[in-house]
């Protein structure tokens, strides 16, 4: 039995001023499921995550976590951002323990071990590399044993190798702890590597919801993997087939076919 939350998003709408960002979006995520959300920038991905975390309020509709509507920040939910957002004036271990009470130090140390940074606990953030900073941010999110982990393009700024390393790390910790995970990414390969399902968000709505039936760990060389990536990319790019689009975009499409 998974300890992840059951997440239901019901006819969710959000607008900022006159700009409609999400429109009647509905999505169900089972406990312990790993869902990857892809979409172009500006499609409302980040807003969706901020709504789920309680940092923003919906304009209409609602979000149910284990059947309870989200009204404020929820301790069962943790979020990780594209930038690590660490406190430069605290040491690594203090950053991990931010917001913990009681016997936080041993917990934080254990979590640092999980992300492979046990020996850097007393370092300042300034000496860490970008990948190490993201691992500290991951440890900070994991230390309170969240039941829902929201990942807002956390690997977007990392180099290709560090990225693959981080994907494996996130996958193995998720398999071990079975929290529900929502990953936002603009990298379709990453989405297919990690997601049980890949959801495509376009103009504030779900336009594709695809099961990924591959066994883990997944390999990029696998033909089914490649076909799935292709299918999703094709779906994203097919919007460009409207007549107004320039040649370059349709060239790209022909090439990708």
């Amino acid at each position: 039995m998974s300890r992840g939350v059951d997440l239901r998003i019901v006819e969710l709408s959000k607008s900022f001023g006159s700009k409609q960002v999400l429109q009647d979006l509905s999505l169900e995520i089972k406990p312990g499921e790993f869902v990857a959300i892809v979409g172009r920038s500006g499609c409302g991905k980040s807003t969706l995550l901020r709504l789920i975390s309680g940092l923003e309020r919906p304009t209409a509709g609602g979000i149910l976590v284990d059947g309870e509507p989200v009204k404020q920040l929820n301790t069962a939910v943790r979020m990780m951002f594209q930038d690590a957002r660490l406190l430069l004036w605290k040491r690594v271990i203090q950053n991990v323990g931010l917001g913990l009470r009681g016997n936080w130090k041993s917990k934080a140390q254990l979590t640092l071990e999980q992300v492979g940074l046990a020996d850097r606990a007393d370092e300042w953030i300034a000496v860490l590399s970008g990948g190490q900073r993201q691992r500290v941010a991951l440890a900070r999110a994991l230390v309170s044993e969240p039941r829902l982990l929201l990942l807002d393009e956390p690997l977007g700024a990392l180099d290709a190798l560090t990225r693959i390393e981080m994907q494996r790390l996130i996958e193995s910790i998720w398999q071990e702890q079975q929290f529900t995970t929502l990953l936002i990414t603009h990298d379709v390969e990453e989405a297919v590597t990690l997601g049980d399902r890949v959801v495509l968000l376009e103009a504030g709505q779900v336009t594709l919801d695809l099961e990924i039936p591959l066994a883990r760990p997944r390999h990029r060389g696998d033909p089914v993997f490649a076909a799935l990536v292709e299918q999703i990319l094709h779906r994203i790019l097919s919007r460009d087939q409207k007549p107004a689009v320039q040649h370059s975009a349709s060239d790209l499409l022909v090439h990708s076919n």
């Binding site: 975390s53 940092l55 920040l73 301790t75 943790r78 979020m79 951002f81 930038d83 957002r85 406190l87 430069l88 004036w89 605290k90 931010l98 917001g99 370092e123 300042w124 953030i125 300034a126 000496v127 190490q132 900070r140």
Partner: protein, 273 residues
């Protein structure tokens, strides 16, 4: 990750080495100028009634020190700067933090303070003398006004520029308001605040001269006027020299405190402490 330790220690050694050389470099030009000045004075090219030799200035310092007069002047000036700095700095800290943190206070207070800032601070002199007389109060008040604005401005913009993303993290991790201020706002604002304190102190030294020239019987600024009216250029130079020395010393002291507090900013230099 494995490489970082040896690389760090090499860095530290190089920095130390560079620092020593640069210290010496800073002394090079002043020494050359002083020697040249002394030579030209002895050759009679600089008239002693306009530009006395460095040795004559040193001799005057010796005389003033022997009579105990010098220390009295230094003490009075330091006292005025200190009180003015503390007073102006304290008020600026309270108001800067309020206007930085709260929109309401910023809307209420900032326009007024910004327009007062545009009054050249020396323009307050006649008014302060009228209100508070020619004694200590008006001098300290003038210095405090000088110190106030840089501290206020830097602190306010420092608080306003605290990364909202970090504040969001703090909220997402359920820090209380007090914890948010202590763990995020205070440390994030400190660099700007220290810059403000240092430029405030600089202005404090500027205004103590103005305050002491406008009427006093003691202090380094009084030595300036005294030297001028009694035709003793050595006394003027002694005063200028001492202003330079104490201005630099107090600024360095503040910079050192700042560095200690901001150890996290530059991890390399924190490793050398």
């Amino acid at each position: 990750m494995l490489k970082s330790l040896p690389v760090n220690s090499v860095w530290v050694r190089q920095r130390d080495h560079l620092l020593q050389v640069r210290w010496l470099r800073g002394f090079f030009l002043p020494v050359v100028l002083l020697v040249g000045w002394e030579c030209l004075s002895r050759l009679g090219i600089f008239p002693p009634n306009l530009l006395p030799a460095p040795s004559a200035v040193l001799a005057t310092i010796g005389q003033l020190a022997a009579s105990g007069e010098l220390f009295a002047h230094i003490a009075v000036t330091l006292y005025r700067v200190a009180v003015g700095f503390l007073l102006g700095g304290a008020i600026a800290t309270v108001l800067g933090a309020l206007t930085g943190y709260s929109r309401l206070f910023s809307d209420l207070l900032d326009p007024l303070l910004q327009s007062l800032r545009n009054i050249p601070s020396l323009a307050w002199v006649p008014l302060f003398i009228l209100w508070m007389g020619i004694g200590e109060t008006s001098k300290v008040a003038l210095i405090a006004v000088g110190v106030f604005f840089p501290v206020y401005l830097n602190l306010m913009s420092g608080v306003q520029n605290v990364d909202r993303k970090l504040v969001e993290v703090g909220k997402a991790y359920r820090l209380s308001d007090l914890q948010l201020i202590r763990r995020i706002f205070l440390p994030a604002t400190l660099p700007a605040y220290i810059v403000g304190l240092r430029s405030g102190l600089g202005l404090g030294w500027m205004f103590v001269v103005a305050a002491e020239i406008m009427g006093s019987s003691q202090g380094l600024g009084f030595l300036l006027v005294d030297g001028q009216t009694t035709g003793r250029p050595t006394v003027i130079l002694v005063s200028i020299l001492l202003f330079a020395v104490f201005g630099k010393l107090t600024d360095s002291a503040l910079a050192t405190v700042g560095q200690r507090l901001l150890f996290w900013q530059d991890s390399y230099s924190s490793q050398t402490h």
